[in-house]
Every structure is written in structure tokens, then in C-alpha cells.
């Protein structure tokens, strides 16, 4: 608990410094907005439509594979911490776990979902 108090203080100070820097810049800087300056920058061409365009489905696939890998790898950490004191059984267990994980990757690969088309 106590150590998390320090982390919490770190979060607070870590936020104060950038807020302070941006605040000082806001106070010192000139403020003369005009429509041209405020317009979206697209290399001098008038922007068409909004910036929030629809995206390629491929991004979602990679986020999906990442989600599965992330969750599983995180739960390998307690296993890795304990590994030095455990026998062969735990090692095999972890390897089975990783192989199941790899099977998902192989499936996605075989399906051609890892190609960027």
C-alpha cells in the first residue's frame, strides 16, 4: 500500500510538470487566432469532409491478435516468477499454454489475416 502511495505521488508530479509547462507557455504566448490559422492542416489544400474517416479492418485484426496475446502473456508472469522453485510439471504446463497461444497465431496466419492487403 505504502509503495503505491509513492507511485500515486509520481503520477501527480508527473502530471503537474507538463501541465505547468503548457500553462506557462499559454500565459507567455500570444493569442491571435484567425480562421486560416485555426483551419485543419492538410498541406495547404482545403480539407474535405471531417478528419474522422472510416478505417481499414486490418487494424482491428492486429488489435485482436494483440489483445489475446497480451492477456495470456501477462498471466505467464506469475508462472515465470515461480518457475525456479517448481518442477518439470510446471515447465510443461507453461509450454502447453504457450503452444495453445501459438496455435491461435498459426490459425490467423493460415487464414491470411496477417497479410496487409
Amino acid at each position: 500500500m505504502n509503495e503505491w502511495l509513492y507511485i500515486g505521488l509520481f503520477f501527480i508530479v508527473g502530471l503537474i510538470i507538463p501541465v505547468g509547462a503548457i500553462g506557462v507557455a499559454w500565459i507567455l504566448g500570444p493569442k491571435k487566432p484567425n480562421p486560416i490559422k485555426q483551419s485543419t492542416y492538410e498541406c495547404g489544400i482545403e480539407p474535405v469532409g471531417e478528419g474522422w474517416v472510416q478505417f481499414k479492418a486490418q487494424y482491428y485484426i492486429f488489435a485482436l491478435v494483440f489483445l489475446v496475446f497480451d492477456v495470456e502473456t501477462v498471466f505467464l508472469f506469475p508462472w515465470a516468477v515461480k518457475l525456479g522453485q517448481l518442477g518439470m510439471f510446471a515447465v510443461v504446463e507453461g509450454i502447453v499454454f504457450i503452444l495453445v497461444l501459438i496455435a491461435g497465431l498459426v490459425y490467423t496466419w493460415r487464414k491470411g489475416m496477417l497479410e496487409w492487403v
Binding site: 479492418a57 482491428y60 485482436l64 489483445l67 489475446v68 492477456v71 495470456e72 498471466f75
Partner: protein
């Protein structure tokens, strides 16, 4: 020190908020967001029961970890469903998906 009741009430509140979202929101993605709130409320309870019970029994934390993977699986499949429906019907509003009504 904080009594257990505080955590339980907080979790109940979060669960109810999630329930409201699931029942009331029109957008399917928003419904999934609300389901996440409900799962988190459950997780708070699990961890609180671990802490306030016998600390050396890890069942609470293990269950919370399993809930994490369930949540991940739920999001993956749920959002895939939403995207699949969107591609076929061009909508993400749950009310408009009424093919199975009759």
C-alpha cells in the same frame, strides 16, 4: 480502515450503472462498454472478498484473473459480431437488428 461494505456498495453501484447501459443504450458498441462495467464490478467484489477473507487462499485473485480473460474474449467476439453485422446491415443500432423478431 475501510470496511468491506464500502467496496460491496461501490461494486453494486457500478454493476447497476452497467446494467442501465446494457438495457438503455441503442448502440451495440455502447452496450459492450456497459458489459465491461458490470464485469469490473464483479471483479472488485472478487478481489475484496479475497482481501477480507483468508489472504493465503488465492481463489479470489485467480477468479479475478479468469474474469480478465473472459472479458477479453467477450470483447473480441462481441466487437467482431458488431463489425460483422455492420458490414452486412450497415448499422450498429441494436434495435434495428430485428431479423429474428418473427
Amino acid at each position: 480502515m475501510i470496511p468491506l461494505s464500502w467496496y460491496l456498495i461501490l461494486a453494486a453501484g457500478l454493476f447497476s450503472i452497467g446494467l442501465f447501459g446494457v438495457l438503455a443504450r441503442r448502440n451495440a458498441v455502447a452496450i459492450l462498454l456497459s458489459v465491461e462495467l458490470m464485469l469490473n464490478a464483479v471483479n472488485i467484489n472478487l478481489v475484496a472478498f479475497w482481501r477480507y477473507g483468508d489472504v493465503s487462499l488465492m481463489a479470489g485473485q485467480v477468479f479475478a484473473s479468469i474474469v480478465f480473460s473472459v472479458a477479453a474474449a467477450e470483447v473480441a467476439v462481441g466487437l467482431a459480431l458488431v463489425i460483422s453485422v455492420y458490414r452486412r446491415r450497415n448499422t450498429v443500432v441494436a434495435e434495428e437488428l430485428d431479423l429474428l423478431k418473427w
